[in-house]
Structures are given as structure tokens and as C-alpha cells.
Amino acid sequence: MTNYLKAFAAMIAGLLIGFAMTAVSLGLGRGFGALAAGPWTAWPRHGAADIDPYARAMLARTGEAPLGRDQGLAFIARADSSGATLDGRCAYRITDPAPAARYWTLAVATTSGTLIDNPARRYAFTSAEILRREGGGFAIDAAEEAHPGNWLPTRRGPFLLILRLYDTSLDTEVAPDPSTFPKIIKLGCA
């Protein structure tokens, strides 16, 4: 009789631990095969046929439709170039260079990937529309308060910067050179 009870307890405990492991592992990160360059990280396999089961389960749960590997790459930054987590109370400047791509866009998003509401209805800049300095350099400010020039509105709390490169020649098999990616510099905090 006690053996039946023990078997039952083992079964229940196993079920609970198994589901907990799944919940934790899917919540932890965005799967394997990450490509990092400074504060920026991309997951090229999310848009390829060789996507791993963890990434597939994670995407199914969040409802994301990734970019195809041959279309472009989405690099996400959770921290600035010094490694401090992006915080909506602070203002940041994102400066050139940007990796070679036909087009790129820089967007802000909440940590769950949704847009940040703002009266200017500005959620992203494309490489074709930003104001540039002479010579092609650029600076985009991500801040809660309006900034002159290229201003991406943020709000209080943690947020993400997403750099998407479309039709890029970037090789995903080798680690990219961080010096070819935009720097994220903290300007100051409220």
C-alpha cells in the first residue's frame, strides 16, 4: 500500500517539477544560437528551418512571427554599451555606425515586445528617414522627454531597443565585430 502511495507521490512530484522546468526554461531566454555584438543580440536560427525545440516553444507561447533568416536579422539590446540595463527614467543616445544592410530600422519596445504609447506616434526610425550629420553619421535619442533631432519616445520602466537589419550581408556563422554596431550611451537620468 505504501508503495502505491509513494509511486503516486513520485508521479505527482515529477509532473509538477517537469512543468515547472518547462515554464522556467521558456521564460529564461530566447533559446540557443545567440549572436552577440556588444549590447546587441540576435537569434538567427529563429527564422530558419533548423530552429531548436526550445526556441519554437518560446515563440509559440509569445506568439511572435520571426523574420526569415534570408530576410534580415533583429538585434535586441536590453542594456547600454556599459552594460547597465536600459531604464526609461534615463535618456540614451544611439550613435553610428550601423552594420551593412540595405535598410535598417531602430525601434523601442517594452520587454514583452509591445509598442510604447506616445503622442508623437513614433515607435521606430528607418535608415531612410533619420536626420543625418554631414558625412552620413547619425544620432538617435531614446528618452521620455522630447529631444531635438531623431527622438524615440520611451517611458518609465525597463525597455528594449531593437535594431533590425534588412537584406544584410552579415555572416551569422562568425561573431560580428561589435565596433560595427551602434553604441548606446547614457546621457543622464531624471
Binding site: 509513494k6 509511486a7 507521490a9 513520485a10 508521479m11 512530484a13 515529477g14 509532473l15 517539477i17 517537469g18 512543468f19 522546468m21 518547462t22 526554461s25 521558456l26 529563429h46 527564422g47 530558419a48 528551418a49 530552429i51 525545440p53 526550445y54 519554437r56 516553444a57 515563440l59 509559440a60 507561447r61 509569445t62 506568439g63 511572435e64 512571427a65 520571426p66 523574420l67 526569415g68 533568416r69 534570408d70 530576410q71 534580415g72 533583429a74 540595405r102 535598410y103 530600422t105 525601434a107 519596445a109 514583452s112 515586445g113 509591445t114 509598442l115 510604447i116 504609447d117 515607435y123 521606430a124 526610425f125 528607418t126 531612410a128 528617414e129 531593437i162 533590425r164 534588412y166 537584406d167
Partner: protein, 197 residues
């Protein structure tokens, strides 16, 4: 000694628990794409039903707005459309004209999330993207019927019967959005009968 005896006593049960936990973990991860209620396919299926559909079969999605995102982590600079396919009703042919000036991307997603084909206007052949989607049997039947595909046509096998084609058209400036949406409307998604084999 007593402690060791106790340990040996519970060890099989601990191992059994670990085995059950491991199996449950692996099975739940593998089954997640099948059962997730808010997957990209489920979201786009609902959005496509609510969105206006062009005569050529493309459901034009409303522009992303805070609180009304269809899928998370989507680029707000794009105008987007979707074609849902169900291969049990026939194969799907997607045709788009590519303009070298503008970025147009088509990605082919299985219901369970795998991107099984992707194309941009760069991969167009003679200014045209033409993709025939079928399951393994349909593609085989098509190939046995005419060995040579029309030169501009790409044939791809979908791993699942149902899935969607996401069409992304870049609006380079906010004022370009209408033009970008117009390009979506020129894409054709049609269900074609599979050839008799």
C-alpha cells in the same frame, strides 16, 4: 548506517520522480507549438478574419498601435498582410511583383511556428516572386507532371497542412505607408487545385 539505509530506500523513488519530471519537461516543450493558444498562427487567423481582404486574397492588417499589436516584436515601420493556407483544400500560389526600390519580404510559416521559406524582392527572378506551396505529396505530383518548373517559380514543401504567409512591406517614411500598403495589395495568394497524378 541507518542514514544510508534510509537513503537507499528513497533513492528509487527519487530516480522515478526525476524520470517523470524529465519526460514531462521534454514532452511539454515539444507539444507547446501544437497547443499554445496564442501562437502567431492563432493571432493572425483571428486578425485576418477581422481585416479587409483584397480580391487577390491578401488580408491587409491594420497598422501596429500600442495595445493593438497582433504579434509581439513586430517592426512598426512595416505595412503587413497575411495569407492563410490550408493545403487540404489545395496548393497555394503566391505571386508578387518586385520593385528594386522597395523592400518587400514574404515569409512562409508552418502552423507550429517553423519558417520554412523566406523571400525578399532581392530573390525575385525577372522582377517576380512566385512561390508554390504544397505538402510533400502535392509537390511530388506537380513535379511528376511537369519536370521543369516555370523558370520564375519556386516550389516549397510545407511541414504542416495549415500555415500562413506573412507579407511585410517597408514604409521608408511615415508618409510612405499608403504606398507600402498598396504594394501589399498587389500580391496575389490563390488556392490552386493539385494536379492529378
Amino acid at each position: 548506517m541507518k542514514f544510508l539505509d534510509r537513503l537507499l530506500d528513497v533513492l528509487p523513488w527519487l530516480l522515478a520522480t526525476a524520470c517523470v519530471a524529465g519526460s514531462v519537461h521534454i514532452i511539454s516543450v515539444l507539444l507547446m507549438p501544437e497547443v499554445a493558444p496564442r501562437s502567431a498562427f492563432a493571432r493572425l487567423l483571428a486578425a485576418a478574419r477581422a481585416a479587409p481582404t483584397t480580391q487577390t486574397g491578401v488580408a491587409v492588417l491594420p497598422p501596429a498601435a500600442p495595445g493593438a499589436e497582433i504579434t509581439p516584436f513586430e517592426d512598426p515601420a512595416f505595412a503587413e498582410g497575411v495569407c492563410l493556407f490550408d493545403l487540404s483544400k489545395g496548393m497555394m500560389r503566391v505571386v508578387a511583383d518586385a520593385d528594386p526600390e522597395d523592400y518587400l519580404a514574404l515569409s512562409f510559416h508552418a502552423r507550429t511556428g517553423r519558417v520554412f521559406h523566406a523571400a525578399t524582392d532581392r530573390s525575385a527572378i525577372k522582377g517576380r516572386i512566385e512561390v508554390m506551396v504544397g505538402d510533400a505529396g502535392q509537390i511530388e505530383a506537380l513535379e511528376s507532371q511537369d519536370e521543369e518548373a516555370p523558370p520564375s517559380q519556386v516550389r516549397v514543401t510545407s511541414p504542416t497542412k495549415r500555415g500562413f504567409v506573412l507579407i511585410r512591406s517597408l514604409a521608408k517614411r511615415a508618409s510612405d505607408r499608403d504606398r507600402a500598403e498598396q504594394r501589399l495589395r498587389l500580391v496575389t495568394c490563390e488556392t490552386v487545385a493539385e494536379p492529378d497524378s
